[in-house]
Structures are given as C-alpha cells and as structure tokens.
Subunit: 444 residues, 2 copies
C-alpha cells in the first residue's frame, strides 16, 4: 500500500497521459468511459453511487421482479477490464473551470481531481414542481433507494389491508396512485395491476388482491405523448383493459397520508383515498448543472438543464462536455439513447484531441426509437415513423432488453431467471426491511 | 371486500375448526405450519417480517453473492397453496394465556387473535452482553436488515480505501474484524477473505484488495467448538491458509469508529484498527420468551430461553408450545434442525388433539449433523460421530444447501444462478444504498 494516492495509480498509463474526468455513472458516463477504453487517456469516473443503474427496468425492482444487483451492477465491476479507467465513489460538489479540477466528497472528506478534459453526466432527479412536501408521500422512481422504498410500501400495503377491519381504510390501502403518464408511470401502473390481478392472486385469505385499484394521473391530454397519438391511444386502451383507471388532463394538487386531491379534466376537484402513491411526473437537472451554467455563463432551460454548444461542450469551454439528461440541446428527449450517444460523442472528440486533433464536430442524434412495456405480453414501440404495439411490440421490447441486460451482466443464468420471473407469476424479490415495516415515511 | 375481517376468512374451514396461532416465520414456525397443512385446523401465522429467512446463507447476502429475495421468500408465497393457513404481518407483543389470545401490532394498530393451540417460535436476536454501544459499530447477522447494512459497509470500506491518502487510515478501512468464531463468524471471515483475495482482485486501481486483513476473534479456546476438536483445528488451519488472522481466547473489550480493543489469550490488551466490524458472538431470547415465562412461571436459562416440558409445551399450559431457538430443552443447540423438528413435533401433537386425542409425547431430537462452509471448495461437516472436511465436506455442504433452496424456491434457474455466482467470481449484489453511502452508522 505504498502506491501513490490519487492519479498515476498502478494501472494508469504513465503520465503525462491526457486526464479525463467523467462525473456520473449513468448511461452518459458509462458509455463515455467505455468509448475511451482503448484511447491513450487516463480516465477517472466519479459517481455518488457505486452502481450503474439500468433505469428502464427500475420499475421491476419496485414491483418485486428483479433484485437491485440485477439492474445495478457495481460500476467498477462493469469497467474492471479497462486498466486506464479508475472508478471513485464520491459526490461531485463543484468544478473549478479555471484550474480544471473537480471537487468531490465522501464520508466528510473532500478530494480534488484534476482534468484535461471533463465529461459531466450527472443527469436529472425527481422534481415535485415546488410541492416538496409530496416527496414524503410519493417517492420518485430515479434511484435504487426510491425503488426499494416503493417496493416496501407496495407489498406492505397489501399486508396492512389483510389485517385492516374498517372497509374504507382497507380500500385506501388497496388503492395505488401513480402520478405521471410517461413511460415510468405507465410501466408502474401496468405492473401494479399485474401484481394485484395475477401475481398475488392466491397469496391472501381475507382480502382479494384483484379488488385493488390502480389510478394513473397525467396532466397532459394523453399518455406517452412522445410516442405519438396512435400509441398514446393504444396505451390508454391496454391499461384500461388491465383495470387501470386512467385520468388524463388531471393535475394532482395536494396529497397526504390517506390520499390525493386532483383537479380533473372537467375542472372539478376530486379526492381519492390512496395510501400508496408514487411520483413519475417531473424531473429537474442535478445541482451541478446550475453551478456549471453560472460559472460559464451558459443558459439553462426550465428544467435546469445546461444549454450546450452543438458538439455538447460548455460555451467557452471546449474541454468540458455536458451529456445525457443534464444537457439541453435541440430539444432532445431525456432518454437513455441520447445519453449513450452524447457520451460516446464526447469520448470521440476527446480521443481525437488526445491524439493532437483539436477539431470539433456537432452531435447528430440517431433516433433508434423508444419502447414501453404495458403488461406481460403487451408493449408499445415507436421506431422512426413505424409504430408497433400489442404482442409484436412486446417481443421487440423483450429482445432489446435481453440484449442490454446480457451486454451488461454477461451472465446468461441471470437473464434466464429474469425472463422466467417476468413471464411467470414469480415475484421473488419482496423483502420489506424492518426500516420500512413500521412506517410509511420519507425517502432518506 | 365484504368478507369478515380476522378469522373465518374465505378459505378457512368452517368454524368451529381448532384455531392454531403460530408466532414467528423462521424454521420453527414455517415447519410447524407446513406440518399442519392437511390437518383439520385453521392456522394463523403472525410474524414481524414478511419473509421466511434462510439464515444459514445470510452471510452470502452480506458479501454480495445472493439477493435478499433469494434467501428470504415472502412467507405467504411459500405457504400460498395451503388454504387453511393465513399469514399476518405484525409484531406479537403479548400472549394472554388465560383468555387465549395473541396481541400483535402493525403501523400503530393492535389486533387480537384468539387460539385454541399456540406455537411460539420467535427465536433469538443478537446480544452484545451488556455492551449495547457495540451495536452501533458492529451489526449482528440475524436479520436481512443487518446483512444489507453489513454489505453496504463492507463494499463501502473498499470504496473509501480507494480514495484515502493516509496509509494508516487506509489500512483501517481495509481491515475487517469479525467477532465470534461460531458458524456465522467463520463463514463471514472466510467470505470476506475470498472477496478481497479473489472476487475484487481486479476491481481497484490504487488499493490492492488482496492486502485487506480479516481478523477473527473468539473468546473460547477454539473455533466451531460444537463441531468437536478435530474439525475445530481443521477450520482454524483452513482459515489461516485463506489469510484470516484467527485469535482464539480473545475477548473484545471495547470498540469505536476506528477499531477494536481486545484482551488476548496471553492477557495483554491490544488495539486493532478496523473500520468495519461485525458481531456474531452472542444471542439472547426474543422478548416474548420472558413474557411467557413470567406469565406461566416457567424458568429461563441464561440466554432468556424458556424452559419447556419434554413435549415442548409451556409448564401448566399444554396448549402452548415454545419451539426452536426460543426453547430451552435438554441443552439442545440453537440450530435450524432443532427448530424444524420441534415445530413439526408441536404440529403433530396439535393435529392429534384436534382429532380428539389429548395425549402427549416427549420430543426426541434426531441429530442429522451440522455444516459450515469455510471457502469456495472447503467446508466442515459433523454427521453424528463422523467428521468430513475439505472438498468432500464442501460437496456435502453444497448438496444440502441446494436441496434446501430448491425446496423453498422451487425455481431451478435461481439455484443455478446462485451456484454459478458462488463458485465463480461473481458478486452481483453489491448495491450500496444512499442511506448507507454517507455514513457508518447504527442499524435502524
């Protein structure tokens, strides 16, 4: 343990290699790192979680299908084969654009990491649009912590209903309110419906889980509006067939322990008893975005995302790239594909520079389409101008996700286990921890 | 939802069926319930966790091999096929022996459940022998919560070491102290050694995980003393070969954030720097044991376990059985096999009584032996007077655990996944939640 502490560590190329710091281990950061694995650069990835989260399947952790490890492999495990990449657990607090260092902290100790090129990919987090009190009652769906909290609340609600004598109180425990009709909200609503109507069907003796109500509230006039009007209608129809009560044009105006208050499309205000609530309605940029914008003079959009140059660099700082959800460019959507492609784009420009080519190139998004699962055997997919739904859409969804999971985990048995659990009635990950047993409390 | 609330629920046999209440979902409770599945009785199982914990593999959750769901299936899922068994999530607070009711609570609401026969199987919990402050620094290994807390601390310690500049501080982050040389302590020490020397070998750039120290402290003169002197010696030798520093005759007298203070076998007091500590040194009966003893006049042993009649019943209360770890009878050890057999014994007597036979029969323990894994490919096994160790011991260990897991989960792919992870270098469950990232704090 006599090795030097921060950079120039044992497997790094000998200095003066071009030093790249990547902040964030999501799709943007991970794909940037992988694209640099054979470049003559020394990469340090700083992230505040020890895992890369495959966010598109997070709702399956929240509903008991997958374990955390199955969709959140340790980042250093994913990158262990690349000796020029170092992974550091710490929360990035600030960037000194002048002296080119990133300040990060862990367990109260702060450390600086110098860079020649920087890629910031810290993404977005749940926004409650100023109603910060909602956080207490309705966890978001962006982190493993949030998904585990929701999992405990969902399975705990059925448990409490089983012992609740008062029929009104019991109905509120068996009512689940999902706020937000984008992919995450649609997938959560679909899975809770499947859970209550199919997976848990034979598990209780007093309550009938199939009587559970799943409410889906969306402020816009339709679900999955980014998928186009046809798939939006298909989604609504499929969810209704599953038993989900879909309310579009409906704004959640208040909530408390027992339920939600909603201004409906017709202007009336209604109250729904619902003990379990989840928030998939809004996002805001992570705090590092605003710091970077203030330091560089870059603009931010209404979500707080940083307006970047066409090559994804920070205005006036060609050595700093902002990629993925944290970036505002050409109204690109906050999806995994944009993050992966912008991460790779930044990596390519940095590789060229490390090789002596100071040129730049604008980012061009190649839209490969977008997918959302509604239930077992039904999904919607938009591929350019092509729309696919129903069982063919689901097969497409399954193939894409199997390919992704296999790529990450490279462990056939894990994927097989997943496929069997998902298609079958297996909900093998249902642990409620004792932190959750005794309370319906805030996400820490 | 017009069904009656507590008993007499939809699938229960029509009253007046003999009502059996089982408190606890561990080995004792679960095997009692299963043994009653075809009896003409209405069973209610009350437990304060929603899962049955396969405790012998809990150390594999703490070291990233298994997910919670793989060893802690939902109890109501395990028992769903038996319509005469109802599962209720709640903490049993008290037993009214006179009126024959169990009072339990969940989310601040209490409810009473009447019984004709009662089986109490709430087991034991971690005891710090009066040093309750140790709990903060050294979680036990009895619950899923404790294992997840330890998992976050173990993987988090390597992460912190990777960024720690001071060599003394770094060494303390790379030192793991296991207190207690029974099966759990031996298995934890062995797995942490495997983790640092093998599984994490290529994952870091600054630290070399193979330099991690694993300390095992045992107050008695040998490890695994219940396995007999020969296997005790084999275990010590095998652990030392793995790199574990074994200290027998060593009592931990104090601990804090940075390390432990130990009175060694030679009487000297030594201090070891160790950020990560775990406690596998002692157990005490769950609180319900003392309440039952006080109400019935039964004695308790020094661990607080209830001294029962030869048929496992509470003195003066033939309708109440205390089984498993909570029971003190004939110096039987607190192992899964005793819990399973006493649970089944109580169930058999209750079935006979429900059929009109008021007789009793003393419990006879059939000792099937005991096993402990030391590392990949090495284990020790005592089968009556036969001792097996090394690779043959490990094969035996694997067969027994595969049979158990398959029996519980009945899901071949999950077992396959486990076998491959365990034998390979896979440590796929490493998630540190954000509750854990920023602190080394107490178990909630």
């Amino acid at each position: 343990m006599t090795k030097p502490p921060i950079l120039g560590a044992r497997h790094h190329p000998a200095p003066p290699a071009h030093r790249v710091v990547i902040v964030g281990s999501g799709f943007g950061g991970l794909f940037a790192a992988r694209a640099l694995r054979r470049s003559p650069v020394a990469v340090t990835m700083i992230a505040d979680t020890n895992h890369h989260l495959f966010q598109p399947l997070l709702y399956q952790v929240a509903t008991g299908i997958l374990s955390q490890g199955e969709i959140a492999p340790a980042t250093r495990d994913v990158l262990r084969r690349y000796p020029n990449i170092r992974v550091v657990l710490g929360e990035a607090l600030d960037v000194d654009l002048e002296h080119r260092t990133v300040t990060a902290t862990r367990l109260g100790r702060t450390f600086d990491t110098p860079y020649d090129s920087l890629i910031v990919a810290t993404g977005v987090r749940t926004s409650y649009f100023g109603h910060d009190g909602f956080r207490h009652w309705a966890p978001g769906m962006k982190t493993v912590d949030e998904a585990l909290e929701l999992r405990g609340r969902i399975f705990g609600a059925f448990e409490t209903a089983e012992t609740e004598v008062d029929p009104v109180a019991r109905a509120a425990w068996l009512t689940f309110a999902v706020v937000g009709g984008g992919p995450t909200g649609v997938e959560m609503a679909g899975q809770i419906a499947e859970l209550s109507h199919r997976a848990l069907r034979r598990d209780f003796r007093v309550i009938d889980p199939a009587t559970a109500r799943v409410l889906l509230f969306e402020g816009a006039s339709g679900l999955l509006t980014s998928f186009g009007p046809r798939l939006s209608k298909v989604t609504e129809r499929d969810l209704r067939r599953l038993g989900v009560e879909v309310h579009t044009g409906a704004m959640v105006t208040d909530m408390d322990e027992h339920g939600v208050e909603v201004r409906m499309a017709d202007g009336t205000v209604q109250r729904f008893g619902a003990r379990t609530k989840m928030w998939a309605a809004g996002m805001e940029a992570s705090p590092l975005g605003r710091l970077l914008a203030e330091a560089s003079g870059a603009g931010v959009d209404r979500m707080g995302r940083v307006e970047v140059e066409p090559d994804c660099s920070l205005p006036g700082h060609p050595e700093v790239f902002v990629v993925g959800d944290l970036m505002a460019l050409d109204d690109l959507p906050g999806v995994a594909e944009v993050a992966m492609q912008t991460g790779r784009h930044a990596a390519r420009l940095i590789t060229a520079r490390a090789g002596g080519d100071p040129g730049s190139a604008p980012f061009r998004y190649r839209d490969l389409g977008t997918l959302a699962a509604i239930s077992r055997f039904r999904a919607v997919a938009r591929l350019g101008r092509l729309s696919v739904w129903g069982f063919p859409g689901w097969v497409l969804w399954l193939v894409v996700h199997l390919a992704f999971l296999t790529g990450f985990k490279n462990r056939f048995t894990a994927v097989l286990h997943w496929a069997i659990s998902f298609i079958g009635r297996g909900r093998s990950e249902r642990t409620i921890t004792s932190r959750q047993t005794d309370r319906v409390g805030p996400v820490a």
